[in-house]
């Protein structure tokens, strides 16, 4: 089957969807459900699960046709964790029944997902996690605390890793579950952050009963399942084509052009250095995208998050200084719980503070540098003292 035939085929299917469900006359949810059922949600997914077993690159054909017809989209920003992490994990490790139950409402956005991974004592060293799940008949009983959970206050479901065997080394005694956030014993508390608002939450799990049918993958092999989630978390870059000055640099460049009175020589030097670096980062992302399209994925993706974190921090820091008197002010410290993550919106002070998280969330820059050094460059691992020791015997 040639790619051309596939593209034409997918274009035809998209037009049929639009004809049967005109966006102007169809409700948002109903349209998205019909799109899922037509296999045009994510074309590379299996037929019957929102896809057509087609090459991933053909999704751009669907997206372009639907955008031209002003069809509603499923607001990927609001359901990013479900789309980006829960869905690929369920697809790879879930039972047929789990896939049928979860994928459609996830994609349509009827059900929001969150990720119960990090704990106060297990961040970068995620496999050290201590939340316990104990088997009781057909259920598991879960007790513990999670942290840095975005969307937990909106989520219906969570992917959850918990310790099911403390007597084996830490990577081997973990199991992976789907947790119902509406169950008794799940308590979500806002975690107010550096910006003043609570984008993240703490989640307390007290005697939460999860049926064994909502386990993903074999008991005790949850770490392998979690790796799927984590890999997908970091492969979020590369799909979209970014225009020049498309990121945070565009905001500060605009201010520079519009307000000559703010310019100084020192800031000019720094702005141009960062402008060049942002442009090079954009080109690096574009090269990665071209490699993916050509079917030759390069390791560049491992490094892109590092580059963007540093750039966002330096550019937003420069912007606060550029604004001078205005940089001394902040828009609003009122405690809020936003529905979406907003890295580039709002004012300079917010951007400066929020970007501090870019080098921590989804793997700290230090951990990512280790990953590049060991997996890309092949440098030897640091010596470890937590291997072959039962989790319960590790120093904490």
């Amino acid at each position: 089957m040639s790619t051309t035939t596939d593209a034409a085929d997918i274009r035809r299917r998209t037009q049929e969807l639009l004809a049967a469900h005109p966006p102007a006359a169809t409700g948002r949810t109903a349209f998205l459900q019909a799109r899922f059922d037509a296999g045009l949600a994510w074309v590379h997914y299996p037929t019957g699960l929102g896809g057509l077993d087609a090459p991933r690159s053909l999704q751009t054909v669907v997206d372009a046709e639907l955008a031209a017809a002003q069809a509603p989209d499923n607001d990927p920003r609001r359901i990013g964790i479900g789309l980006g992490m829960a869905a690929p994990t369920i697809l790879d490790h879930g039972t047929d029944e789990q896939k049928r139950r979860f994928l459609r409402p996830l994609w349509v956005g009827e059900e929001v997902w969150c990720q119960l991974f990090s704990e106060p004592g297990a961040g970068s060293d995620l496999a050290a996690l201590g939340t316990r799940a104990v088997r009781d008949g057909d259920d598991w009983v879960v007790d513990g605390q999670k942290v840095w959970t975005s969307s937990a206050h909106l989520a219906r479901w969570a992917v959850l890793v918990a310790r099911t065997d403390p007597d084996v080394p830490k990577h081997r005694g973990i199991s992976y579950f789907v947790c119902d956030m509406t169950d008794p014993g799940v308590e979500v508390r806002p975690l107010r952050q550096i910006t003043g608002e609570a984008e993240f939450n703490e989640v307390f799990l007290t005697g939460v009963r999860i049926p064994d049918s909502r386990r993903l993958g074999p008991a005790g092999e949850g770490w392998q399942v979690a790796r799927t989630t984590l890999m997908n978390e970091r492969v979020s870059i590369g799909g979209a084509r970014v225009p020049r000055e498309g990121g945070m640099i565009g905001t500060v460049a605009k201010t520079w052009r519009e307000r000559p009175g703010l310019r100084t020589h020192d800031l000019h030097h720094r702005l141009l250095t960062l402008w060049v670096e942002a442009e090079v980062a954009r080109l690096t992302g574009e090269r990665l995208r071209q490699q993916l399209v050509a079917g030759q994925p390069g390791p560049e993706g491992s490094g892109m998050k590092l580059a963007f974190a540093r750039l966002n921090q330096e550019i937003s820091g420069l912007e606060v200084e550029l604004l001078g008197d205005e940089g001394l002010l902040y828009s609003d410290w009122t405690m809020r719980r936003p529905e979406t993550v907003d890295f580039t919106g709002r004012d300079a002070g917010y951007r400066y503070l929020r970007s501090k998280g870019n080098s921590i969330e989804g793997g700290t820059s230090e951990i990512l540098l280790n990953i590049v050094a060991e997996r890309v460059l092949g440098l030897p691992a640091e010596p470890r003292n937590d291997k072959d020791i039962a989790w319960k015997d590790l120093a904490r």
Partner: protein
Amino acid sequence: MSAQTGPARSAAARTPEEAHTPDLLYSETEEDLRSAVRALLADRAGAPAVIAATESRSPYDRRLWDSLAGGIGAAGLLVPEERGGQGASHREAAVVLEELGRSVAPAPYLTSAVVATEILLALDARDGPAAELLADLAAGRRAAVLALPFATPAADSEATLTGTLERTVAGVADAAAADVLLVPTDEGLYAVESADPGVTVEPLVPLDLTRPLAAVTLTGASGTLLAGPGPAGAAVARGLLSGAGLLASEQLGLAEWCLTETVRYTRERHQFNRPVGSFQSLKHRMAQLWLEVVSARAAARNAADALATGSPGAPLAVAVAQAYCSKVAVHAAEECVQLHGGIGMTWEHPAHLYLKRAKADSIAYGTAGRHRESVAALTELPAP
């Protein structure tokens, strides 16, 4: 830039909706060319040979140049077939320069096969001395260099048309390897034979031993006027822009060699009963360098593609690549010396050749700061 050289093959191969997106990958042809050049350089320009050559009276290896320029046909990549070349583009020439950067072999490729060749191409002469010289350069029969200081930025090209044939120009790269000097004067561009009795080429002691510099003195030399001031100015500008743009690929290759060798060395070298490459402080530095190298690759490819396709965005693509890649090459070479420890300070280990080349390259055709000024002008981000 007005002059477009070589067929815009990669642009033509793309679909219309992608026409404005640069092709940042390597084609199969380019990879084949890389293999041929790399094999030749590995065979004829290994580190001990390059070090020995820099200590001799003439560091250039004529047989290496004949094989690279004529045998592989690398000298004629930018020149259309009907004018005696290979009819390829800046994309392919950039791959040759990546390999020359990895090897730091003394060869007048950037100066003759890129800058001088681009100048002659831009003159667009179909016959006469300029056309003949172009065919000679493309075949690797002769080499020519632009008789300007190596540090001259493309942005200063208008100021280069000055004076007469009676002059001394210091800091001319590869002049000692050149059969012909291209001399800009206020009358236009002259071609002067190096063997002319009025020409003295006096070697200088260069920081970068692998790209010799010379002071060129012309006293009563006779030259052939190739073009008047207008076309000459545009041609010199084109040559300097291409030189700066493709220098980024040399810097990329150099940085890549430094990173690869540093990774290899620190995996093998043991201290405190561990490979030193297992220490996090070193790993992070090499991982950071890797990120810079992959970014430099995107920037350098973008510049080569913009030059190859005659994109109106070429001056910005070149300025971005130079502003970025200069820094990466110097950083990579400095890290290479440091992470090799004492070995990195020795004359015997080639690391110093790369540091010297990287530092000299960071000045060649304009410093990063000069290129940032070009970025400021081209993106309307003016100074206070």
